[in-house]
C-alpha cells in the first residue's frame, strides 16, 4: 500500500508541475517542465555523458568512503580503548565532525590542486568522523554480560576483542556506515560542484553555466534518487537485519 500511495503522490506532483509550467508560460531557462527534464535526461543517457558522470562520481565516492570508514573505525576503536586519547583526540574529533567537510576544499585545493584527489580528500573527511563517533559508541556499549561470559570461557585480550567486542559493536558500526554514506554523498556533490569533472556535480555546474535548467533539474533528480535508493535499499536494509539478528528490536 505505501508503494501505491507513493506512486500516486509522485505522479500527481509531476502532473501539477507540468500543468503549472505550461499554463504560466515561463521560459524553459527559468523553470523547465517535467517533459523538458526527461528530454534532457534522455539525451544525457543516450550520448553516455551521464553514464560516465555516474561512473566517475561513484569511483571517487567508493575510494573516499572505504578509506574514510577504515580510518574512522580504527580511530573509533582507539578512542573507545584509551581514555587519554578519548579525552584529547576525542574532543578534536567532535569539533571536526561539526565542520561540514566541504569547508576543507580550499585547503585541499592548495595541497592537492584542483583535481580528483581534493574531492576524495573531502569525501574521506566526510566519512571518517561520523564513523569514528559511532564505532567508539559501539565498542563502549558492548554488553558487559557478553564480556563476562567470554571471560569465563577463557577469552581475553586480543581474542576477546576480535571474537566478542568487535562483532558485538557491529550494529553501531552499521549505523556509522549508513551515516558515512550520507555524508560522503553530500561531500562528493559539493566537491564536484566546486572543483572538477567528470562527475554529476560537475555536469550540474556545467549545465548551469550554459543555462540548461532542464539538465540541472535532471541531475538533481539523479542525485536525489541515487541517494535515497542507496539509503533505503542498501543501508536501511542492512541495519534492519543486523538489529533483528542482534536482538535489539524494540517492539
Amino acid at each position: 500500500m505505501p508503494t501505491v500511495k507513493r506512486i500516486i503522490f509522485f505522479a500527481s506532483l509531476l502532473i501539477i508541475w507540468e500543468v503549472a509550467v505550461k499554463l504560466s508560460g515561463v521560459s524553459v531557462a527559468v523553470m523547465p517542465a517535467p517533459t523538458d527534464v526527461f528530454g534532457a535526461l534522455f539525451r544525457g543517457f543516450a550520448d553516455l555523458t551521464l553514464v560516465f558522470d555516474l561512473i566517475a562520481s561513484f569511483r571517487r565516492l567508493f575510494i573516499g568512503m572505504i578509506l574514510g570508514v577504515i580510518i574512522g573505525a580504527a580511530l573509533g576503536v582507539v578512542l573507545a580503548k584509551y581514555k587519554t586519547a578519548d579525552e584529547t583526540l576525542g574532543t578534536l574529533v567532535l569539533a571536526l565532525q561539526s565542520v561540514p567537510s566541504i569547508v576543507w576544499l580550499p585547503i585541499a585545493i592548495m595541497w592537492f590542486g584542483l583535481n580528483e584527489t581534493s574531492v576524495i580528500f573531502i569525501i574521506i573527511l566526510g566519512a571518517t568522523f561520523v564513523m569514528t563517533i559511532n564505532m567508539r559508541m559501539g565498542i563502549k556499549n558492548v554488553s558487559p554480560l557478553y564480556i563476562r561470559a567470554a571471560q569465563t570461557m577463557g577469552s581475553k585480550g586480543m581474542d576477546l576483542f576480535r571474537r566478542v567486542i568487535f562483532p558485538a559493536s557491529i550494529p553501531y558500526a552499521v549505523t556509522g556506515l549508513k551515516l558515512a554514506w550520507a555524508f560522503s554523498w553530500r561531500a562528493l556533490m559539493a566537491g564536484e560542484l566546486l572543483s572538477t569533472g567528470p562527475g554529476l556535480g560537475y555536469t550540474l555546474r556545467f549545465a548551469s553555466d550554459f543555462g540548461d535548467m532542464a539538465l540541472v533539474i535532471g541531475v538533481m533528480i539523479i542525485i536525489g534518487t541515487v541517494g535515497s535508493v542507496m539509503d533505503l535499499f542498501v543501508f536501511q536494509r542492512i541495519e534492519k537485519n543486523v538489529i533483528r539478528r542482534w536482538g535489539l528490536e524494540t517492539e
Binding site: 554480560l145 563476562r148 561470559a149 571471560q151 569465563t152 577463557g154 577469552s155 581475553k156 536482538g247
Partner: protein
C-alpha cells in the same frame, strides 16, 4: 591423571574466610563476611538467599570475575585468581552471541584446544544432551528463552569444566519451562557427575535440585545454615519432608527479609 595424592584433602572447592567489601566514596559496604564452606566433588549445592545477600557475588568470585577482599577460594587446592575454563558459568540471561549460530556459540570456548571438526562434534554432542540437535544452524534470536538457556548450559558443559556455576539460570523463565529445565538439569547432573554451584532465590528450586542448600542471610552476607537434603530423587513437591523443609527455610529467610525491609524503610524516611 585424576588420582589423588596421599594427604591431599578431600575438599574440592573451599571458601576460606571469604570477605567482600565495596568502597564507594569512602563508605565501606560489606557484602560478604567470613564465608567458610566446603563443597565436595560431584555435589549439587544451592546458594539460597534474598536479593542483595551477595550470593551472586560469591559465585562470580568462584568464576574469577570478581576478587575477594579477604580470604581465598581454593579449587582442588589451588587458589582462584582469574577466570578459567575449568569453571563453566551460566548466567541468568543466556548471554549467547547473536552473531554466531547456536552451534558456533557452543563451539566458542573450544577453538584453541581442538580442531574445528572435533569442536563441531563436541558442540553437537552437548546440544543433543539439551535436546537442541535440530537447531544447530539457528540464530539465538530465533529461540525461546528456555531454549537459549539450554544452549548456554551446553556451551558451559562443552568446556568440560570441573565445576558448573549457575547464577539464577532459570530466573527469567516461565513456570512450565523452568520446571522442565529442572528435570533436564537434574538428568545432566546425574549423567555427567559435575559439581554444580547453583544460585537461586527460589526455595522450591533449591529443594528440588540440591544435595545441600547454603541458606544465606543479608547485610552483611553470611551463611545462616548449611542444610543437607536427603530426599530421594526425582523429588515430588507434595512429599511431607519437602513441605517441612520448605517451611523451615521459609521461616529462616523471612527474618532476613524483614530485616532488609525495615532497613530500607528507615533509609527511605531518613
Amino acid at each position: 591423571m585424576n588420582y589423588k595424592k596421599r594427604g591431599e584433602s578431600d575438599m574440592f572447592l573451599e571458601f576460606k574466610n571469604v570477605t567482600k567489601e565495596y568502597t564507594n566514596q569512602n563508605i565501606v559496604n560489606t557484602v560478604l563476611t567470613d564465608i567458610n564452606v566446603t563443597v565436595n566433588e560431584g555435589e549439587f549445592v544451592s546458594i539460597l538467599g534474598p536479593s542483595g545477600c551477595g550470593k551472586s557475588t560469591l559465585l562470580s568470585m568462584v568464576a574469577g570475575l570478581n576478587k575477594a577482599t579477604n580470604g581465598e577460594i581454593l579449587l582442588q587446592g589451588k587458589p582462584i585468581t582469574k577466570p578459567g575454563k575449568e569453571r563453566g558459568m551460566v548466567f541468568q540471561q543466556a548471554a549467547l552471541f547473536p552473531w554466531l549460530t547456536v552451534e558456533e556459540n557452543v563451539m566458542f570456548p573450544l577453538h584453541e584446544e581442538m580442531s574445528k571438526k572435533e569442536a563441531k562434534e563436541r558442540a553437537q554432542y552437548y546440544l543433543k544432551m539439551v535436546q537442541l540437535s535440530n537447531y544447530l544452524r539457528h540464530s539465538p534470536h530465533e529461540l525461546s528463552g528456555g531454549m537459549q538457556q539450554r544452549v548456554a548450559i551446553a556451551r558451559a558443559l562443552a568446556m568440560d569444566p570441573t565445576v558448573l556455576l549457575m547464577d539464577e539460570p532459570f530466573g527469567a523463565l516461565d513456570e512450565q519451562t523452568r520446571s522442565r529445565l529442572h528435570g533436564e538439569l537434574e538428568k545432566i547432573w546425574l549423567d555427567t557427575k559435575k559439581t554444580i554451584l547453583f544460585v537461586t532465590h527460589s526455595i522450591q528450586e533449591s529443594i528440588k535440585l540440591s544435595d545441600r542448600i547454603l541458606v544465606m542471610g543479608t547485610r552483611p552476607g553470611i551463611i545462616l545454615e548449611d542444610i543437607k537434603v536427603d530426599i530421594p530423587r526425582p523429588r515430588k513437591q507434595s512429599r511431607d519432608e519437602i513441605v517441612e523443609l520448605e517451611s523451615r527455610i521459609s521461616n529462616l529467610l523471612e527474618k532476613e527479609i524483614d530485616k532488609v525491609v525495615k532497613e530500607e524503610l528507615a533509609y527511605a524516611h531518613s
